[in-house]
């Protein structure tokens, strides 16, 4: 299914309410690591109502800043 944040077809259901109540389902995108619950506010669960500032649809994830650089291997 489509990720609500990065808009790629890389999301899936990963959990449901553990008490058997079927109160909610949890979704997760393995590409951008976003997750959301089916019972969250429309600003989260409805694509048209999401804040564009937090959308990653046009972002190449490889360009993200890396605060901890990977060090050279020890020889």
């Amino acid at each position: 299914m489509m990720c609500l944040r990065c808009l790629k077809d890389t999301a899936a259901k990963i959990a449901e309410a553990p008490d058997g109540s079927k109160e909610w389902e949890m979704y997760y995108c393995e590409r951008c690591n976003y997750s959301w619950r089916s019972t969250e506010e429309p600003e989260i669960t409805v694509l048209e109502k999401r804040d564009p500032e937090f959308q990653l649809g046009n972002l190449d994830l490889d360009t993200l800043q890396m605060l901890n650089p990977i060090p050279p291997l020890r020889k």
Partner: protein
């Protein structure tokens, strides 16, 4: 929690709540109740029947006083000096290892799905997922894994990324970054254990900028005045707090980074989305009937500010006092010390700036302390009326206000541009002394005995609504 309950500082929400947005809404409300706000427990979370969340445990100065064993009305200054008094011989604390620890009563090591094991929730609406905001992350120096002193216990933000993976932010100046760097240089996974719901003094020590070779466990034991009980993680050499509510065991995957964030951070703003390390979870252990202890963080003031305020102030005070014994007190409670107020007697003209430079050269102050205000030693830095008086009547802008450009900055500070760079603002609001000069001015002295008179009045005072 028992101490808070007995003091009337614990409220249990029995009404059904959704993980989002209800938990965050209540915890924001608790923070807004101010300096006396209670801890909050949720015991009826929809979809998580039987599981509980606790928040705001360190969320007010009353709670903080109770955790220190003080009277609930202890002032912030009194709490500062209580922490300062306990802050001796931190390396002498006694540790005790136990078997069959409470934190390992229940073990999950197959088909781990964190979303179903723990009551997770999104802390702020635009966070990238569910976060652990109050988790003590334990790691060891791969070059010296048996060193208790180099074993690090630190609070770093941890993002749940799928059923059995986590993202984590350990910034380059954090102790865990040294462990990560060593492990990555060897292309080895770094074992970590994430303890949630630890003894409250251990949580504060994990948030405190101790030296690299100081043990947070021993320091916590010293502060508690009793041995701290540890146990070995089930799958590694790591030591974990035996009475934790939950322990997540895993390994940092070496030499890879993954998309993490954003997260609503302590300045009251969202961090960006960055590439951060990933932890693969191998095991989750917990108590019978555990409580997921969390911390709401948002626009200040929140539990974050109370929890770390004095535990940032006291180590700064100790480090500066070692060189400059004239120092009287430090208030670094504003956003982890982004603004820091130092009170000190003044040795010679210009000495206020010397003290500011020392603040800026402490390990914590290097990146965090960007607005440094120095006031005379007779001014309580926790009394902002007095601090503002000092600024109003002492500061000569042409001599006493200094900006040092292009210094390290705190990347989460929204003013830090580029993230990690900044500058220092020094305001020397002390009275000029020789060889500096000022006009001949005589200050008004308080009448002798006025402090005692105030105390007598306080005792005799019965407000109408009492």
């Amino acid at each position: 929690m028992d101490a808070l309950q007995k003091s009337g500082q614990l409220v249990t929400v029995h009404d059904p709540v959704l993980p989002e947005p209800d938990v965050r809404t209540y915890l924001r409300g608790a923070a807004d109740l101010g300096s006396k706000s209670p801890a909050v427990v949720f015991d009826n979370i929809r979809g998580y029947r039987g599981l509980r969340i606790a928040g705001n445990v360190h969320g007010s100065w009353v709670n903080h006083a109770i955790l220190l064993g003080m009277d609930r009305d202890a002032t912030i200054r009194e709490q500062f000096f209580q922490v300062e008094k306990l802050w001796t011989n931190l390396d002498q604390g006694e540790l005790k290892w136990i078997q069959n620890a409470p934190c390992q009563e229940v073990v999950h090591d197959k088909n781990i799905n964190l979303y179903e094991i723990m009551p997770l929730f999104r802390i702020n609406q635009n966070d990238g997922g569910c976060y652990f905001s109050k988790a003590c992350v334990v790691s060891q120096d791969p070059d010296d894994p048996d060193s208790l002193e180099k074993e690090n216990v630190g609070i770093y933000r941890v993002m749940v990324q799928g059923p059995d993976t986590l993202g984590m932010q350990g910034l380059p100046y954090h102790d865990i970054a040294r462990h990560l760097k060593t492990a990555e240089e060897r292309n080895m996974p770094l074992p970590v254990a994430i303890c949630i719901g630890t003894p409250p003094i251990l949580t504060t020590m994990a948030a405190t900028p101790l030296a690299y070779n100081q043990s947070e466990y021993k320091a916590a034991a010293t502060m508690m005045g009793e041995p701290l009980e540890l146990t070995k993680a089930l799958g590694s050499n790591l030591n974990v707090a035996a009475h934790s509510e939950y322990v997540i065991e895993g390994e940092v995957i070496p030499r890879q980074r993954f998309c993490e964030g954003p997260f609503g951070e302590f300045p009251g703003s969202y961090s960006g989305v960055r590439k951060q390390v990933r932890i693969k979870i191998n095991r989750v252990t917990h108590r019978q009937n555990p409580i997921h202890e969390t911390l709401f963080i948002g626009k200040p003031w929140t539990e974050h500010d109370t929890m770390i305020g004095l535990w940032t102030s006291v180590p700064l005070y100790k480090q500066i006092k070692a060189d400059f014994p004239e120092i009287k007190c430090v208030n670094a409670t504003y956003q982890h010390g982004l603004t820091t107020i130092v009170s000190s007697d003044i040795r010679l003209g210009g000495f206020g700036k010397t003290l500011a430079f020392r603040v800026a050269s402490t390990p914590h102050g290097t990146s965090y302390c960007k607005n440094i205000i120095v006031v005379d030693g007779d001014i309580d830095p926790f009394n902002l009326d007095k601090v503002m008086w000092a600024i109003s009547t002492r500061v000569r802008a042409d001599k006493d206000v200094t900006i040092v450009q292009n210094t390290p900055g705190m990347p989460l500070d929204p003013c830090s541009e580029p993230a990690g760079m900044g500058c220092k603002l020094i305001i020397d609001a002390t009275t000029p002394v020789m060889p500096d000069t000022m006009r001949e001015i005589t200050m008004i002295a308080d009448p002798p005995g006025s402090a005692e008179a105030a105390e007598r009045l306080r005792n005799a005072w019965k407000p109408a609504d009492a």
